[in-house]
Point group: C2
């Protein structure tokens, strides 16, 4: 009801921006979620960005800036004066602040660092030690910490002091005097127990945790597997350093899926932080060109095989009809197998020891696929082609042609399927990302084998 | 330290299973997370499964069963006697119980339903009304509910009663007398305010929510975008029906990513609930064969073009050297563009109105890519080939050959890039999933245009 009477705050904000009406802009911005404000900001021109940021001020802009795509962050911060920047940088949560320092220029790093308070300086320096894509690089240190010898009352007093700081109080961790992780309690356990209950009596073992040096994707998978809201991050002496939260895990897993999808299509480089539509054509070009040129040169090998067998084609032109089919069937079936294996690896379903079992599974799958294709195509050739009554330039019967194509396509599909499944496993064995075995690079490789298989088998069955 | 002295519970469990030692098995299983137990269960033979389930009993088996891949659930439940099943089904959370009813056979549905208590019967019947892949189909009704006129003390009393039921108390929702959603509070707001504070004073507006009929992926994206732990699900009258939790969202987004990755590789059908390694070769075969056969027939079109232009190839055999390159470059560049657009659509970055802007962006990207490839290849042909001094069967100079290949590859890459970007948008416009535009189907399509472009351009530049 209320929604229909009032106006949509997003429309109001756009109107206020157009009219350069500061007070209307501020009141609309206060009603809009920072994720929506950040998405809007990305689509504004520089003048509008400046007016928006200056109007809402550093307090309201903090969450907006933290939500921005990385390449836009430095530009956004440059709209503020040092005194405002000091407020904004101080307001950022520690993990977001580290992200800012990791993505701005060196000059800005120095300038921004000088604006931090002494505690934030130390915290930021400590967090910057961890690699960007590790659990340590993604964690926040803002987490509820209590000790086992406290009572519920004491614990609540400690947490009350930190409550606006802590990103979540869904999990509160229990540490010993040295700060080592010894257990966990839920806020509900505190809220629903009497005030003199010792924490020791209600805490549970913290069985799930991760090292700060663990890869961020691995950490996100642990959180996801065990349905945790937060995953504690510890050092090698089991000191509690911080936590990875469920929203970080969501973001990490989405990024990793996007990365795998792009790699599978032979798109290289870091995925653009800006959305597809706001990424320049030049950047799109740069991420695609190297693979395209590399693959083009691989294709010369196929061309060379075709060139060498030109005489066979000249003798039996009808072979050309089925050449693209045999060749493409290898790329298609190999790509299917590679994709299944790469995704299963990404989901942690496959370990190195499974290679033989996978080869056997894909060999059977590839054989069934190859035979199905071969029989279908042989039937097509045997029944349809003779009835088309056109000059196919062939001096042999269609039964032999059907047999040649069927055998070639079966061999091509079987070998491409096994190769497609094995290459990602081999890539991981030599510590490469399995997803480098992109569908196009696999296709270009089995194009060569496809040509060889086709011409050799057809040549021998048809006596060419 | 403790870890090294004690044995790994997973090893203990395997030993106990092998020795059929029930009490050792039970004590090991109690120390293992249900997610790990479920993963283990998947790899056991039927006898071991039976022994495991019967030993741990229905209480401990509840979480294990909820975590199992769908096809294994009915079989697992059949290991229990009716009295045990009654306990297990009663212990399941409402959303997990609905999942069970959605995946078992009709006969089992009737049998299991008769074992439910009257309240669970009604709840299950209500939840089964929603489609499996909607917010309503994924939600749990176990959520903390209070009213605005309660005090903190009254609210805590209500929540205390429900606390073991509620999946999370990170968010507690405020409803009016009719059960309509009016606001939300955090447990920390209750824990850290005085007992006589009215809820009205500390509640916040519940601005993010979703309709029960909303697609599950859309609901998961809302939760992710706004960093929510739980997303309230309402009906069209704004009655609070339940919540989607962050762990459901994680699962949904991972499922959707896998689905897109598989579709892009021309793998059809529902993604297997069982892990890759436990999926039979026959099922792998069934999910791949239809596309493979379909694509093979599309390739006959390429074959036909090649067959018609056989005379051109016969006149200038050297053209064969670059035919696979020109053809494959189209599939590769088109696949890159399609992948970028499909992923951007899945992440909600692209709307229907953006089509023209995308076409313009991809036209420029495609032109840059085509020119880069064309120039590289022309240079290669102009400088390398003449120095190879072999009989290439050519009766024309290499400058003309280089020009012909360069122009053809530029046209092919430009047109394939734009086509690749536009097809997913067209698919969505006619309400198909954009990911049906798989890389292989796109490649098979632009293979045909590539052959035509190459032979036409080469024929005219070289006067063949």
């Amino acid at each position: 009801m209320a929604d229909e009477e009032n106006d949509n705050p997003m429309n109001e904000l756009m109107r206020a921006l157009a009219a350069a009406d500061g007070s209307a802009l501020l009141s609309a911005a206060e009603d809009i979620h920072y994720a929506d404000l950040a998405a809007l900001y990305e689509n504004l021109n520089d003048e509008a960005r400046d007016f928006l940021l200056k109007t809402i001020g550093p307090e309201l802009a903090t969450d907006l800036v933290a939500e921005l795509p990385y390449p836009l962050i430095e530009g956004a911060l440059d709209h503020f004066k040092p005194a405002q920047l000091r407020v904004l940088l101080g307001n950022l949560s520690d993990d977001d602040r580290v992200d800012v320092f990791q993505v701005v220029s060196e000059e800005a790093q120095v300038r921004f660092f000088s604006l931090l308070g002494p505690r934030d300086k130390e915290l930021t320096r400590n967090l910057l030690k961890y690699e960007e894509d590790t659990a340590g690089g993604r964690m926040t240190t803002h987490v509820g910490r209590i000790t086992a010898d406290m009572t519920v009352k004491q614990a609540i007093a400690v947490l009350r002091r930190d409550r606006e700081d802590a990103e979540t109080l869904s999990r509160i961790f229990v540490v010993d005097a040295q700060g080592r992780l010894v257990g966990k309690v839920r806020l509900r356990d505190l809220a629903f127990n009497t005030w003199d209950t010792p924490i020791r009596d209600i805490m549970a073992e913290a069985t799930e945790y991760t090292l700060a040096s663990t890869d961020q994707e691995e950490a996100a998978r642990i959180l996801s597997r065990y349905d945790l809201v937060v995953l504690p991050v510890v050092d090698e002496f089991h000191h509690l350093l911080g936590v990875i939260t469920y929203d970080d895990a969501l973001e990490i897993l989405q990024e990793e899926s996007t990365e795998d999808i792009e790699k599978l299509a032979a798109i290289s480089g870091e995925q653009s932080e800006v959305s597809y539509i706001n990424t320049s054509a030049t950047l799109h070009y740069r991420r695609r060109v190297a693979w395209l040129i590399g693959l083009a040169f691989v294709s010369i090998a196929s061309g060379y095989v075709m060139f060498r067998f030109e005489s066979v084609l000249a003798k039996a032109g009808v072979l050309a009809l089925f050449l693209p089919m045999v060749v493409a069937a290898g790329g298609n079936s190999g790509g299917q197998a590679a994709t299944m294996v790469i995704r299963a690896m990404a989901l942690g379903e496959i370990k190195a020891g499974n290679a033989l079992r996978i080869a056997w599974k894909e060999a059977r799958t590839g054989l069934y696929l190859g035979l199905s294709l071969g029989i279908t195509i042989a039937a097509f050739i045997g029944f349809i082609l003779p009835r088309m009554k056109q000059n196919t330039g062939a001096n042999f019967d269609f039964i032999h042609l059907a047999a040649a194509v069927a055998v070639a396509i079966t061999v091509q599909v079987l070998s491409a399927t096994v190769l497609g499944a094995m290459l990602p496993i081999a890539a991981r064995a030599i510590r490469l990302d399995p997803a480098v075995v992109s569908s196009p690079s696999l296709a270009s490789t089995v194009d060569v084998s496809g040509m060889l298989i086709y011409f050799t088998i057809a040549g021998s069955i048809l006596n060419l």
